[in-house]
């Protein structure tokens, strides 16, 4: 599946003493290649998160369009876009996003449960949890996991539907070097299996895994 952005821009209103419009992402064209790990690096506040939120259908661009195999994401209804995201785009958001009163397995199965496919995915979920070495924690509540374990759980959750596209926002933000290497290998494997992986990060160590490297500076995306 080819994910493309054509001339997308996003403005935010900033109120205060001098009310003005702040452009987080300037007009940008972008194509996410299949079978490839694309990394966007940039400083905090450079517009990376805004950019991937627009790409994943979570934030409407002020201008421009995002298409996935010729389907304009923002012309779909909320229900259609949500179902599309559920099926085709796995997202690993920034920070810890485990639902604490759900077990690890329940967290991982949530995307499948939303559209009534949880039973089919249970074995797959357990396999993936084993693969990321937290299989023993399947019945533990997410609130009891460490940061690294939570990140691995979020990756499994994003991969449960075997989505063609995987988008990760600072996936190694609070991980040690060993766990970072482990997580990056997982994501790299997804790309090597034909998936499209997009990572935004300010962690320079991640650049080593990139097939395609971009730099985001003050809302402008530049190919490195």
């Amino acid at each position: 599946m080819k994910l493309m952005a054509a001339g997308i821009r996003r403005d935010f209103f900033r109120s205060g003493k001098n009310t003005n419009i702040f452009t987080a992402v300037q007009n940008t064209d972008f194509t996410l290649l299949e079978g490839c790990m694309t990394v966007i690096v940039g400083r905090s506040g450079s517009g990376k998160t805004t950019f991937i939120q627009m790409l994943s259908g979570l934030l409407t661009p002020t201008e421009g369009k995002v298409t996935a195999d010729n389907t304009d994401l923002y012309l779909l209804s909320d229900k259609e876009r949500s179902a599309f995201r559920n099926r085709h785009i796995g997202i690993i958001p920034q920070g810890q996003t485990g639902l604490q009163r759900f077990t690890v397995l329940e967290n991982v199965l949530l995307p499948a449960e939303m559209y009534g496919k949880a039973d089919d995915k249970k074995d797959k979920a357990l396999q993936l949890l084993e693969a990321v070495e937290i299989g023993a924690l399947a019945d533990v509540y997410a609130g009891e996991l460490s940061g690294g374990e939570l990140r691995r759980m979020a990756i499994v959750r994003a991969m449960i539907h075997e989505p063609q596209i995987l988008i990760a926002d600072e996936p190694t933000g609070d991980l040690d070097a060993e766990t970072t290497a482990f997580v990056m290998k997982l994501l790299k494997a997804h790309a090597e299996n034909g998936g499209s992986v997009l990572i935004v990060t300010h962690d320079k160590d991640v650049m080593a895994y990139a097939d395609e490297l971009y730099r985001m500076e003050k809302g402008v995306l530049v190919r490195s």
Partner: protein, 402 residues
Amino acid sequence: MSFIIKTSLKNIRRKPRRFVLLGMILLVMSVTLFGGAFVTVSLQNGLSAYQQRLGADIIVTPSSAQGHGTVDGILLQGISGNYYMSPSELEKLRSIEGIEAMSAQFYLTSAKASCCGSRVQIIGFDPETDFSILPWIKESIRTEIRNGDILIGADVSYPADGTILFYGKQYHVAGQLEKTGTGLDHAVYTNRSTIAEMAQNAAAGVMQTTLKNVNIGNAASAVLIKVKDGYDIQSVADDINIHVTKVNAVPSQNMVSSISEGLKGTSAVIGALIFGIWLLMVVVMGAVFAMLSNERKKEFAVLRVMGASRGMLFGIMCCESVVISTVGAVIGAGISAVLSVPVSEMLKESLSLPMVHPSGGSLALLCVGAVLLPMLSGLVTSLISAFLVTKNETGLLLREDG
């Protein structure tokens, strides 16, 4: 089970404290609605029972009755009174034009002393002329009242041997009348000759002073009058007031109207209180829902990231709200149903107003209302909160979360 129901139940089960406050609010709302409606319906039932029982167009009492337990006080509130008009005034009444039927009643209050088994108002009526009490007796217990027999109101208790002591003599309880919710329930009824006997005994003892100059056999405490068709009730009452001295004739409608006005006022106050409390609860519930929604922004954003639609989030919040509302409201309605009777009895005593509890069917309707209205209030409030949370795009929700 669908994702929405399953997720909602998990949320409630695994974070119960989050929902306890909401449940409590809905419980209070349900208790208020049920209690308020119960009291209002009881008051309305009481008034209609009172109107039904009165049966007379005009009630005549001696002028001396003013301020000493008037007829409406005796009949409605169970206030005791001993006052009498002479036989000559009764004769003058008979000569007034427009009267179709009249029946005299004799009132006697039993004393607290050892001579009497119970402190009640005793009403003596003439079975030959009565049109107010006899129909009630016929409806209620279908029995004749013989000399020496008494009938008792629904709230009068009596010993197991079926007799009550009045002024040194035991009287046989021939039956207990149906509840009216008025002072009639606290009274004892008997025929003229039996009450005359009681009054003679009273006059010889503790009520010597009160009954000293009373012609017990022929005097009356009140006269109930039915007006002939074609005559104006107010005009007949005016005629009586002009032509018969030392009496006071009042159209019973006026009496009922004033009570009715009083009840309307009471009902309005109760209604306003219910509305006020309901409104307050809705505002508090709205604030709690808003607080909870705010606290759950990240959770909702994560669900959206995974592919949950706005409709799903709405569904989860509504489902949680319906479950909590139902539990809170059902417990509230249950508590109300159990407490309503004793509490309304206390109110009846303190307000001195006629109250008849709603029947089984009305009670069931009250219960349904006391569950449904809080449930709907909870649902609407949660929908508003859900709308406020989900109106922003997920990207912005994640951004707000930091």
